[in-house]
């Protein structure tokens, strides 16, 4: 990697880490508020629980993820193709555009002018800067897709007849899926929210904006998850000392995500009026379909881990499960992320189930669920990735492997406690997105679980603190020494066994568009044909 490329990836990483630090800070405050301990006075200038919650959600799920993924996918593409990234001017412009977007969105968040949570449901009306900033970040991600596309074209021209290398293929598929998915939020922001927030239109169709939001809002979770899968498929087998079991199955899994990730968003709107049960059932169906490539991933990654243990002489049927390199924080963080994700995935099926969803919709259950997915499967994996990526980029050894292990285990324990309590609270009808510490209706049966939420939150806070201590000490005091990037895993069932169709993109993109039309056609027909009377914007915070 060239020095400017190194700086570019570092740039993405720094922004991501800053977002994680600031956004993460509010997590323990929220958890402790639920447990009955209000520490909001500690943050000068913070106006409300909900301003903190808006910062927490926006910075973590929209900024930490997006910037980490940007840097990671550029790095993976560069390493996997062994050719410089195309158009350095474009890649830097992309980065700065996203940073400008972040600053514009962060200003109103910090000044309490965008206390609308990360879903910004209209008619809650934030400062136009907030929508503009988010829009610029989305445009930045499209330019990232363009960069990966240009790299693809150049590599293809130089290597006729060869299959596109798996890691770069996965990076590109992730960005293509996201680009299609992001059209919903882009349309919502550019054509509805921005004109309305600057006063060009008097009201907004609240149902339409929600529907556009969730068009993007569910597949965005696959945009977070697929880079973690990329690590599990192409790097974790190497960390574990084995090989990837099956490349064709890995490609199939990503291509299925590309084609079926998007027509699923209405499962966030099962309890919305204005959309009938037919299209809702269709989105249940598609969400169950997306479960399939995750099951493929579970098998493929587990088989790869098994190959590693067998290589070390493991003979038994199940002994390979624990005969792993638990002393390596890079691997351990990601294995623990996988374990938590099993429960996240199962909970996701509950959420996607048409009427079972009624028991959990907008309860604490959902909060528990997405802390197991984006907060564990994704975040803990990215933490594990940091432990090799950061030393490699900086040319410094990780400051302490032992502490990194403690950090990963603490995150696992904290999240297990936190999510278990939240799932139970959800089944007892505890509402999410609510300052429960001040709610007059708190029920006695919630109390023990609320305390457990607080305990989990504190453990997570300690783990997060440790993570940043390690990052900072590695950057400042890690032993200076070139640290090679891990090579991508070899395959057992490899490129030679890969059908040609699994190395192509255009036909799968066509299928994706067709499925979007099938899944979302009836939804948008219903939403648009009703003519929901517009609602005036309000600032209620």
């Amino acid at each position: 990697m060239t020095a400017p490329e190194n700086r570019l990836v570092r740039g993405y990483l720094i922004v991501a880490l800053l977002a994680l630090a600031v956004g993460g800070l509010f997590g323990p405050l929220q958890a402790l508020n639920w447990a009955g301990l209000d520490l909001y006075g500690l943050i000068p200038g913070l106006r409300s629980y909900y301003q903190g919650l808006s910062l927490h959600g926006t910075l973590l799920v929209l900024v930490w993820t997006t910037f980490f993924i940007g840097g990671f996918l550029l790095f993976v593409t560069r390493q996997s193709l062994g050719q410089p990234l195309p158009r350095p001017g474009l890649t830097w412009a992309t980065f700065w555009l996203m940073v400008v977007g972040l600053v514009l969105a962060a200003l109103p968040l910090l000044s309490n002018d965008a206390t609308v949570l990360f879903t910004f449901y209209a008619p809650l009306k934030a400062s136009p800067l907030f929508y503009l900033g988010l829009g610029l970040i989305v445009v930045g991600t499209w330019l990232l897709t363009l960069t990966l596309g240009l790299a693809y074209r150049r590599w293809r021209a130089a290597h006729p007849g060869e299959p596109y290398p798996l890691p770069a293929f996965m990076a590109l598929v992730t960005m293509l899926m996201w680009t299609l998915a992001s059209l919903g939020i882009a349309f919502e922001v550019v054509f509805l929210l921005l004109p309305w927030s600057v006063g060009l239109t008097g009201g907004v169709d609240a149902l339409l904006t929600r529907t556009l939001f969730w068009f993007t809002g569910h597949p965005i979770v696959y945009f977070w998850l697929l880079p973690a899968y990329l690590s599990w498929y192409t790097l974790v087998p190497r960390h574990a000392g084995g090989s990837l079991f099956s490349e064709p199955m890995a490609r199939l899994s990503f291509l299925l995500f590309l084609t079926t990730s998007i027509p699923v968003g209405v499962h966030h709107q099962f309890t919305d009026p204005g959309i009938s049960e037919g299209p809702k059932l269709l989105h249940t169906f598609f969400t169950f379909v997306v479960f399939f490539p995750s099951l493929l991933t579970a098998f493929n990654v587990a088989a790869s881990l098994e190959s590693a243990a067998r290589r070390r002489g493991e003979q038994g049927w199940l002994g390979w499960l624990w005969r792993q390199r638990w002393g390596d924080p890079v691997l351990t963080a990601q294995l623990l992320a996988m374990i938590l994700f099993i429960f996240g995935g199962i909970g996701g099926l509950v959420n996607a189930s048409l009427n079972v969803n009624l028991l959990v919709h907008n309860t604490a259950w959902i909060v528990g669920h997405f802390h197991l997915t984006v907060g564990s499967a994704v975040t803990l994996t990215f933490m594990g990735v940091t432990y090799w990526l950061l030393p490699h980029l900086l040319g410094r050894q990780l400051w302490s492997r032992g502490l990194a292990l403690v950090q990963a285990v603490l995150w696992f324990v904290g999240m297990a406690v936190f999510a278990y309590a939240l799932h139970n609270l959800g089944l007892l009808d505890t509402p999410r997105r609510t300052m429960l510490g001040a709610a007059p209706y708190r029920l006695a049966e919630w109390q023990p679980w609320l305390v457990l939420v607080g305990i989990g939150g504190v453990i997570l806070f300690l783990s997060g603190l440790l993570y940043f201590v390690l990052v900072v000490l590695t950057a400042l005091a890690g032993e200076r020494q070139p640290v090679p990037a891990p090579a991508f895993a070899e395959t057992i069932h490899g490129p030679a066994d890969t059908p040609r169709a699994f190395d192509r993109l255009a036909p799968w993109l066509v299928v994706s568009v067709v499925l979007i039309v099938v899944g979302y056609g009836p939804v948008f027909w219903q939403v648009l044909s009703q003519g929901t009377p517009p609602a005036a914007g309000l600032r209620v915070w």
């Binding site: 409300s48 909900y50 919650l53 206390t115 449901y121 008619p123 809650l124 609240a206 149902l207 929600r210 079991f245 099956s246 099962f270 309890t271 919305d272 009026p273 204005g274 959309i275 009938s276 049960e277 059932l281 249940t284 169906f285 169950f288 379909v289 479960f291 399939f292 099951l295 493929l296 098998f299 189930s353 048409l354 009427n355 079972v356 009624l358 028991l359 919709h361 907008n362 309860t363 007892l428 009808d429 509402p431 997105r433 609510t434 300052m435 001040a438 709610a439 209706y441 029920l443 057992i492 069932h493 066994d497 219903q526 009703q530 929901t532 009377p533 517009p534 609602a535 309000l538 209620v540």
Partner: protein, 165 residues
């Protein structure tokens, strides 16, 4: 790769893929069967209403409970920052209540604890939900969608009373 190993790999893959398809399909079938057999329904398309003209638009001009047939009730509810109108509803045990609800301002939630009543109140849209209250007791009604700084104070009660003999 050895030919034999390659076949084994296909065998392993198929052995995993088949149940991976069968499990979600089985769950889907169970889901659809229960949806229709037990009849648990979601809010769907009902009607639209101008949120600025609720006071002039039936039924929202008269929020509250009325008995439409013996044992069958309609409860017209408006959500607004940060309360429900009405915020207390009393029905006899065994009553079937259809909630007809909407929002006057921003998006609100409508969740009655321990029941299947769970819906969003979206300005401009009418949410219809039906539930039969069999057990006497006090049911908590909460707004479960963020609706501003007073959101955590938005709640109500459904009192289900045993019929007097």
């Amino acid at each position: 790769m050895e030919r034999r190993e390659s076949y084994l790999a296909y065998l392993y893959e198929s052995a995993w893929i088949l149940p991976s398809v069968a499990i979600p399909v089985g769950m889907l079938v169970a889901l659809v069967l229960t949806a229709f057999a037990i009849g648990i329904h979601l809010p769907g398309q009902t009607a639209t209403v101008d949120p600025r003209r609720l006071a002039q638009t039936p039924p929202f001009d008269r929020p509250g409970l009325r008995e439409v047939r013996p044992g069958q009730y309609e409860a017209v509810v408006i959500g607004q920052i940060w309360s429900f109108t009405p915020n207390e509803i009393q029905v006899p045990a065994g009553a079937t209540v259809t909630f007809i609800a909407t929002s006057r301002d921003v998006v609100h939630g409508f969740r009655i604890q321990g029941t299947t009543v769970n819906g969003m109140l979206i300005p401009g849209q009418v949410t219809r939900l039906t539930y039969r209250f069999t057990q006497p007791g006090e049911y908590l009604l909460v707004c479960h969608e963020y609706c501003g700084v007073g959101h955590h104070g938005m709640y109500g009660r459904i009192r289900v009373v045993a019929p007097t003999p």
